[in-house]
């Protein structure tokens, strides 16, 4: 009888244990998957916010508009800078008026437009480059013709602190969840093989080789892994669907399911853990 045939027959003979094991894997995957989903979407939302972050360089009062292209070029050469846009004093006033909303009537009392011309600088991949805002701003400040540089230093500081906290706790929790899931699966496989130890010992006694005994067990461990992971991801998708129809997105960011890479990783990981749990348990059976 083929290896796969033997393995499947065995799964059926131990269907209670197999069901429990598969269920354990599914639950583990559900937990890690739910958390990944959460982190991926939270990161997306934060990224969405963060992509609005800009450095504004106010030009010195005497700078003529024909010098602007030169300044743009100079700023564009600074590391991390993605785009430089010219904002005239009139455009800036219009923006300010919009930004102040309810208090915009204050601006009606102005005698003349006191705003300077400005260049708005955005960085490549701001999420990753937030820590470069300060050095980039410094570099821009040193350019001739730039009077003042502004980038919401205080706001950014707070935001970075929060991001750090989020990253740290996500990493911490992710680590805990991942380890817990791995241990769970491995442990469940161990319990499974503990319950089957008699059978395994008998096989050794009647002269079956290592590979004859172990290959089906490994295959079964991996099958438990992949079936459980599939079921877990399926359940997660169900939960995700129920949530996402109630809250489809935030800002311009649509809530998404796990990427194919992550799903692939989870499936592969589960298979590996099934294998690994089997490996650990079988180390007790020497002969």
């Amino acid at each position: 009888m083929s290896l796969l045939g033997r393995s499947l027959r065995d799964l059926w003979a131990h269907r209670f244990l197999s069901a429990v094991t598969t269920f354990a894997v599914a639950m583990s995957v559900l937990i890690v998957g739910a958390f990944s989903l959460f982190v991926v979407n939270a990161a997306g939302i934060i990224q969405d916010w963060g992509s609005g972050a800009r450095i504004v360089a106010y030009l010195s009062p005497g700078v003529e508009s024909d010098k602007v292209p030169l300044l743009r070029g100079e700023i564009g050469r600074i590391e991390g800078v993605a785009e430089v846009r010219y904002i005239s004093r009139d455009a800036a006033m219009e923006r300010l008026r919009k930004g102040m909303a309810e208090e915009a009537f204050l601006l009606d009392h102005l005698r003349e437009n006191p705003l300077p011309d400005a260049l708005e600088v955005s960085l490549f991949r701001p999420m990753k480059n937030w820590r470069r805002f300060a050095p980039a701003a410094q570099a821009i400040r040193e350019i001739d013709g730039v009077a003042e540089v502004e980038f919401g230093e205080e706001w950014l500081g707070r935001f970075l602190h929060l991001m750090d906290l989020f990253r740290l706790s996500a990493a911490g929790m992710g680590g805990i969840f991942f380890l817990a899931a791995v241990f769970f699966m491995a442990n469940t496989v161990r319990l499974l093989l503990y319950a089957r130890r008699e059978e395994i010992e008998i096989l050794y006694l009647v002269g079956a080789t290592h590979s004859f005994i172990r290959l089906p067990l490994y295959l079964q461990g991996m099958l438990h892994g992949i079936i459980g992971a599939g079921a877990g991801l399926g359940a997660l998708y169900g939960a995700f669907y129920l949530i996402s129809i109630r809250a489809p997105g935030v800002g311009t960011f649509p809530i998404r399911f796990l990427s194919e890479e992550i799903m692939g990783g989870i499936l592969t990981g589960s298979v590996l853990v099934g294998w690994f749990g089997t490996y650990l348990s079988l180390k007790r059976f020497h002969r």
């Binding site: 006694l205 002269g207 079956a208 080789t209 290592h210």
Partner: protein
């Protein structure tokens, strides 16, 4: 090892073997030579060490002291990878049967042949004919926990003989059987003997030995007591 003696080389050789479980000595200074195609009984009262002696031969337990050679393999030196090779040459009837409880009687027998790499067709043929031979063809699909004691024992005998082993170790192979079924099983073992196998049968049943006749190794509290040959009783 001692230098080889004259005459045929023994297929099983125990050389000053001791076996201790913790402080308790189960076998003390046993030296035995078994030659090819012998049929030997191991007898002695409960706890004498019969099962322990058989366990040492298939490496169910390691020896504590001394050396054992089985079919040219020195068991003190054999590597773990080669243990299956040893066990494939040996058919074992365990005192507690050791049938796999989640596999049918047929599967229990067929598994040994699968492990040997036998072709599926031959597996079917051999397993079926053996089960018929021990009167278990009707129970081929039953799981061991649903069998009577004697039925389990007969299944265990069938499994031990499936691989057509060179050496057969049988631990009380008829302990749960009535006289008639027991003599059927003994006929089967004797057939194996006639086909060239070497047999070691542990039993406390002296009446059985007297009925069958043969060489007897008598153990008493771990010590080799006597080795005698008892003639077959006229029926």
């Amino acid at each position: 090892m001692t230098p080889p003696e004259k005459g045929p080389e023994p297929i099983i050789r125990l050389f000053h073997v001791h076996k201790r479980y913790g402080a308790k000595a189960a076998l003390i200074d046993i030296s035995i030579d078994v030659f090819e195609n012998e049929f030997i009984f191991i007898s002695g009262p409960s706890g004498a060490g019969k099962s322990t002696l058989l366990k040492l031969l298939y490496l169910g337990e390691p020896v504590s002291e001394g050396h054992i050679v089985v079919d040219g393999l020195n068991l003190s030196r054999i590597s773990r990878r080669r243990i299956p090779m040893l066990r494939r040459r040996i058919g074992i009837v365990f005192q507690d049967y050791k049938l796999i409880p989640t596999k049918s009687v047929y599967e229990n027998v067929a598994l040994v042949l699968e492990a040997l790499g036998t072709r599926p067709r031959l597996i079917r043929k051999t397993a079926r004919s053996l089960l018929r031979r021990v009167g278990m063809e009707e129970k081929a699909k039953a799981l061991p926990p649903s069998l009577s004691g004697g039925e389990q024992q007969r299944a265990a005998v069938a499994r031990a003989l499936a691989g057509n082993p060179k050496i057969i170790l049988a631990d009380e192979p008829t302990g749960s059987l009535d006289a008639e079924a027991a003599s059927d099983i003994f006929d089967l073992l004797r057939e194996c003997h006639e086909r060239g196998a070497t047999l070691l049968v542990a039993t406390h049943d002296t009446a059985l030995i007297r009925r069958t006749g043969g060489k007897v190794i008598l153990l008493d509290r771990g010590r080799l007591d006597v080795t005698t040959t008892i003639p077959k009783l006229p029926a």
